[in-house]
């Protein structure tokens, strides 16, 4: 009897505890350390360089001849590693494990965190105006940057393309000099990561840490301390694990820095600094769109153009981002692919479109709200380009790819996402079409209303471009990517912030913009 009473008490306690389930959060991607070394990918020295990207020739940045492994200098380096390996703390071992799941994946995850941290629009001042984030004064309120979707797409692309190009150059020198890793030649030096025969000079970890660090410092200047520490950590992990010697690291560091300089030079002249524009330029956006529509024979006397519905009225988000330099594509390649005009805001067709938005606004179901929020990726998130990087990371991680092949995948994806941002923003401000809530104030939205013109839908463009690249890289995921693309696209109609025509035009546009990148990928020699 007493026994029974105890048991029932125990069950009651369990029941109460399970009521507020306190199991620890599984808060991260499963970036488990790899147990098998990735392929050395010797053939990567023959992969074609991205046309028009800063590194146009593998020997463009020189890396000096390394000392021989038989030299006394090198012997001293090995001695250093032996000393370090003898006294590794559990903290240091954790750092080795963290980076052994792949530096490219690690940095990509960290970049998504940075984007989410900075994806906040400036707060209005008391006089109803908005201050502009200032790269020269990044710590003030508002902090610099406001990593909205175009800013984020561009940032992801710079880091990804720079990492890929830097690794291409590193691979070139690795196989030119063929200096083995310390764990291969150093008596008593353990490989604390899976053993690889990949030549160690220059160190791919050092190259990656330097190129990423220097670019992130420009893109997210207030995070400089964190970025610098993380880069140093990656190099330390390579040193402690017996993967790279001090001279492998210093050559890699120098190479990474030289390549970062080529990319920061490109970034400072790619048009981003003019993307916000001036008040005088904002004032004429509607008039310019009106002139364009008139040219194609439209009666513009009653046409409605986009207006900010934020209170107080907020300047449009990056109205000149459409002029920012793309990857592989020339400016005319963007304008040639621009979607045709949306129907007139006074047309019956538009009235029907508006009616459909109103239907979804009024008849929101729990299931549709879940779709809206799953894909919203709005303020304070890693943005839609980040969402597609998240998806890509999960696929890449399962492949067990080399760093250079992972970097290529992210470079292809993020060039496509950046081009989608450029093309979509160009079209948005070309037509300057109003949001559904502007044409009918009774429409209520299920997510935040974006502060830029409606047509075409950015989510649709991003998702179609990304899905196309991922389908090329992971053909087994074709159906899945298509389903995600369509769901991301329609989520904007369900959220009552876009018309169906916006989503359709965006999907077609995104797909079209990604084609030239797929052509490049198919011919660069990596997938032969």
């Amino acid at each position: 009897m007493k026994q029974q009473l105890l048991t029932s008490k125990y069950w009651l306690l369990l029941l109460v505890l399970s009521f507020v389930s306190c199991e620890p959060l599984q808060q991260d991607e499963n970036f488990a350390p790899t147990s098998i070394a990735p392929p050395t990918e010797e053939d990567a020295v023959n992969w074609k360089l991205i046309p028009g990207a800063p590194v146009s020739n593998l020997a463009q940045v020189s890396v000096p001849v390394p000392t021989a492994t038989t030299s006394s200098d090198y012997a001293a380096e090995l001695e250093t590693i032996r000393g370090l390996q003898k006294n590794l703390s559990s903290e240091q071992k954790k750092i080795i494990a963290k980076w052994s799941s792949g530096g490219v994946l690690r940095w990509n995850r960290y970049m998504r965190e940075l984007v989410a941290r900075f994806a906040l629009a400036p707060a209005p001042l008391l006089d109803g105006t908005y201050p502009t984030p200032d790269a020269e004064n990044p710590f003030s309120d508002p902090v610099f940057p406001f990593s909205n979707p175009p800013y984020a797409a561009r940032a992801y692309s710079y880091v990804s393309v720079a990492q890929y190009q830097a690794l291409q150059v590193a691979w070139f020198y690795k196989f030119k000099y063929n200096r083995p890793a310390p764990h291969q030649v150093g008596e008593g030096i353990e490989a604390l990561v899976p053993k690889s025969t990949l030549p160690a000079y220059p160190s791919e970890d050092a190259v990656m840490s330097a190129v990423t660090c220097d670019l992130l410092k420009v893109l997210f200047p207030t995070a400089v301390e964190e970025i610098t520490k993380m880069a140093a950590e990656q190099r330390n992990a390579a040193l402690w694990s017996g993967k790279a010697s001090p001279s492998d690291l210093s050559a890699g560091l120098a190479l990474g820095k030289s390549i970062a300089a080529l990319f920061t030079a490109r970034a400072s002249g790619d048009g981003m600094r003019n993307a916000i524009g001036t008040k005088a330029q904002w004032m004429v956006l509607a008039d310019s769109a009106s002139v364009r529509l008139k040219k194609i024979g439209r009666d513009v006397s009653k046409e409605v153009f986009w207006k900010s519905q934020d209170s107080p009225v907020r300047p449009p988000m990056l109205p000149f981002f459409g002029k920012v330099k793309g990857w592989i594509l020339a400016p005319s390649d963007f304008t040639n692919r621009r979607p045709g005009p949306p129907p007139s805001t006074t047309s019956n067709e538009m009235a029907k479109e508006l009616e459909e938005v109103k239907f979804y606004s009024k008849n929101s179901t729990r299931e549709r709200i879940a779709i809206v929020h799953f894909w919203a990726d709005g303020l304070g998130t890693y943005t839609p380009p980040g969402h597609w990087n998240d998806i890509a990371a999960n696929y890449i991680q399962q492949e067990g790819w080399s760093e250079i092949r992972s970097a290529r995948a992210f470079a292809l994806l993020n060039m496509a996402l950046h081009n989608a941002a450029v093309g979509c923003w160009e079209a948005k401000y070309y037509y300057f079409n109003p949001r559904p809530t502007q044409l009918d104030a009774s429409i209520k939205t299920l997510t935040g209303l974006p502060n830029f013109p409606s047509y075409p839908s950015g989510h649709s463009t991003f998702s179609a471009s990304a899905a196309k690249v991922l389908t090329y890289l992971f053909p087994e995921g074709t159906e899945q990517f298509k389903a995600w693309r369509d769901e991301a696209s329609i989520s904007r109609l369900y959220g009552a912030i876009h018309y169906r025509i916006d989503t359709k035009a965006g999907v077609e546009h995104g797909s079209l913009l990604a084609d030239p990148l797929i052509d490049f990928a198919a011919a660069d020699g990596a997938d032969n």
Partner: protein
């Protein structure tokens, strides 16, 4: 931004009164909470895209006396939210059902005019509809299951009384519709959110005379963890929501039908963090059945 179920509930669970044996006090409580300014972290501001946020609720309440020393209190609120500006759609639905077990642990009468009582309360609540908690400030609730316990001390002399009550609550993880979120300086790649625990403390002074009860109380509500709303960000479900409130309550037992009682109260948040600077007006009608 914290939903107000707890305000109406706390009155009954915190006070020093007990339903008698086999009595059921039941009825409806209507409340309206509204704010225009809110604390973004510790910064008090307004938001042109929200305007005034109004949360209305209609709750059924039942308090049953299993014995004169043991009461069971249940609440079932229906909540509706609306913002006066901006485009965000109002939300409505059944929120969280709660059940409290109130036990009189101790009672003493030092003299014929004075009574001192100690009560222990065990509390549990759970969302009873599939509302989204990830749409603040328009979500109707936080979507978290809760269990908690409180201890109240009640002392009465003649018609005056003082009451002091403290509670601690554990809150279960919340599930979002999305796979990643950023809060408290960290990116989380999961749809689950860990909810920090909550501590609250209520003190009040009141008077019961000729069927009229009046009470003035102070509530100190603290979330023991969680991040602040960042500059110009939306509130998030696991934010560190803190508030200090002052409430004035009156309850009137009708002289001709003493089983019928009317309740009214007004409360104001006087300081806070990641919550609205809100004013809550509440009215209720309660009837006591004897079995």
């Amino acid at each position: 931004m914290v939903s107000l179920g707890f305000v109406a509930w706390s009155q009954t669970a915190n006070d020093g009164l007990m339903m008698s044996n086999k009595n059921l006090c039941t009825g409806f409580i209507l409340s309206q909470d509204q704010w225009t300014n809110y604390w973004e972290g510790t910064r008090l501001r307004e938001n042109g895209n929200i305007g005034t946020l109004k949360t209305q609720s209609l709750a059924w309440m039942g308090n049953y006396g299993v014995s004169g020393k043991f009461n069971i209190i249940a609440m079932l609120p229906y909540v509706r939210t609306e913002a006066s500006a901006g485009t965000l759609k109002p939300m409505q639905g059944m929120q969280d059902a709660s059940l409290s077990f109130k036990y009189q642990v101790f009672s003493i009468k030092p003299d014929s005019l004075t009574t001192v009582k100690i009560f222990a309360v065990a509390f549990g609540s759970t969302p009873i509809s599939d509302y989204t908690p990830d749409y603040l400030p328009l979500s109707i609730g936080l979507g978290s299951r809760q269990i908690g316990a409180r201890l109240s001390v009640f002392a009465k002399r003649k018609s005056w009384y003082v009451v002091s009550s403290a509670g601690h609550y554990f809150r279960g993880q919340v599930q979002l519709d999305r796979q990643s979120y950023y809060t408290n300086g960290e990116l989380f790649l999961t749809n689950r959110v860990a909810m920090p625990q909550v501590f609250d403390w209520v003190s009040g002074i009141g008077r019961i005379k000729n069927g009229l009860e009046t009470k003035l109380s102070f509530t100190h509500y603290r979330t023991l963890g969680g991040g602040d709303i960042r500059r110009q960000d939306m509130p998030f479900v696991s934010n560190r929501m803190n508030m200090s409130r002052i409430e004035f309550l009156t309850m009137y037992y009708l002289p001709k039908a003493r089983r019928l009682a009317l309740r009214a109260s007004i409360a104001r948040t006087i300081s806070g963090r990641n919550v609205g600077e809100s004013t809550t007006v509440l009215g209720g009608i309660l009837y006591t059945f004897k079995f």
